[in-house]
């Protein structure tokens, strides 16, 4: 079915209904420019070594074991077999335990996406039935299974002809947004300012296709490395001018093109100011593909 190998194979189960599925990595992390660690003194590359903190002698892989650190710095040693023993045997079942309306899902928990594909032809009609039912009900399914030596929760949803399973982060790994935003002061926004900001937004409406995005960092870094290699002085970053509360209204007015300020109004940029609906001409169109697939 595809050139890639399945990360996991098993069955989706719901009541008496089940079908064979394979789980395939849907996204991989791209490489970034890598630097090497080198010694300032010798300019040689560095390599990593694992040593005993007391004796400073190299510790072989076979002698490395896990330890749980106590507050006083001492450790309880844990045998690898003991850790393995707490991991339940995988039953290779994605049992759909509950369903959540798509709109109700808290995406902050999203970890990694996987494509779910039927493993054999006899599984296909059931697989298609689940896919179509999920999409008709606008629902996602929650399932749990042992994945990569951990009991993981996955969120399954219909996507095109297939299903996408997203692993979810554990409760203790996610900081709730209410907690993170707790310290942000409540401010009553002046209607005039709000209207101006809404107007600015309307001038910048468009579409965006992440697939067309280009990373400009590499080029900028290449320029920097060249300058440094040639011994030139590197430019210092320009200070950023912050809008003062007293100037906020004026900055909004200038941005909205209602008032010409001191600087040139590069605000509304190349987009035409009157456009309200998402359109795809000029600036937006360069990056947006004309045919967009339906959002999932």
């Amino acid at each position: 079915m595809s050139a890639h190998r399945a990360q996991w194979k098993g069955h989706i189960k719901l009541g008496d209904i089940s079908c064979g599925v394979g789980l395939y990595t849907a996204a991989s992390a791209a490489e970034r420019i890598s630097f090497h660690l080198i010694s300032k003194k010798t300019r040689n590359r560095l390599k990593r070594e694992f040593v005993d903190s007391e004796t400073e002698e190299t510790v072989e892989r076979a002698d490395q074991v896990k330890g749980f650190e106590l507050d006083n710095g001492d450790h309880i040693m844990i045998d690898p077999d003991e850790v393995t023993a707490v991991i339940p045997d995988s039953d290779k079942l994605l049992e759909l335990e509950a369903f959540i309306p798509c709109a109700d899902v808290d995406d902050i928990y999203f970890d990694k996406p996987y494509y779910l594909v039927p493993t054999d032809e006899t599984s296909e009609p059931t697989f298609a039935a689940l896919r179509d039912a999920l999409s008709k009900c606008n629902a996602t399914a929650i399932a749990r299974t042992v994945l990569f030596r951990r009991m993981r929760t996955v969120l399954i949803r219909a996507h095109g002809r297939g299903l996408i399973a997203t692993t979810l982060n554990f409760d203790y790994e996610v900081l709730p947004s209410e907690e993170a935003f707790d310290g942000v002061p409540k401010i009553k926004i002046d209607d005039e300012m709000l209207d101006l900001a809404k107007h600015i937004i309307s001038t910048k409406r468009g579409t965006f296709d992440p697939a067309q995005f280009d990373d400009r960092y590499e080029n900028a870094l290449a320029t920097l490395i060249k300058a440094k290699a040639e011994g030139r002085t590197l430019p210092r970053p320009k200070p950023v001018k912050v809008s003062k509360p007293g100037d906020l209204l004026q900055a909004l007015q200038e941005s909205a093109g209602l008032r010409s300020g001191s600087g040139k109004p590069k605000a509304a940029n190349t987009n035409s100011k009157t456009r309200k609906r998402p359109a795809s001409s000029d600036a937006s169109g360069q990056r947006a593909k004309s045919t967009r697939k339906k959002a999932s």
Partner: protein, 271 residues
Amino acid sequence: MMASRRPYWSGYLKLSLVTCPVAMTSATSEAEKVRFHTLNKQTGNRVVSRYVDSVTGKPVKESDEAKGYERAEDDYVILTDKDLESVELETVRTIDIEKFVLRESIEWIYLETPFYLTPNDKIGDEAFAVIRDAMKAENVLGISRVVLGRRERAVVLEPRGKGIVVWTLRFGDEVRPEKDYFKDIDETPDADAKTEIERLIEKRTRRWSADMVSDPIQESLLKLIAKKKRALKSSKKPSRSHGEGKGSNVVDIMEALKRSVSKELKSRKSA
């Protein structure tokens, strides 16, 4: 306990001519995961990693470590963190919102890492609130770019509560083409199964709850550690077992575990 995290990034949020100082905090953290250290089985001491010079084999002090870009074989241009700040891209410091899109228009598969964006100085509180509330009122997401981890990332800004959630988006070549996987799937569903599944979906629809993402294996690990601790206590001669401590540490062990467990419970409650 988690709220006091240090920002991952700080800089400016910009809409047209309006600019305000902001800080970005990671929405996820491994801090509360039960984590193990590596020990030397022979001595019971901790195993630490260190860097040695690949040619001389001698350990290298941290202050002598440098980032090097390999210009030619074994020929490096050294770059300090300060040098890297000189990269001429405004997106190193500023999230300038380029455009606004409909909420549903960004596919989930592109969402990579969530961050929380908050005002970082009183001076920008109002500007931040104006940008956030206008996005909320228009029901749109903001699109911008920012340099994180030595890459320029496309980001989506979503107003949420009193703050803004910033998602980095995966690059186009990071998302594998779905047609490679889905193209052979038969379109025809089993009609009976579909009816039955729809019935079950309705019956089993729940509200989202953080209980759905608990970690039973972490709980088992905590229990395992607790059991070992009890064994230590009853033997009263803990040094016998792999030399991890003296008898006087037993109380501390109890406390450490209690704290771990209560941390666990607290985080579950607050979630």
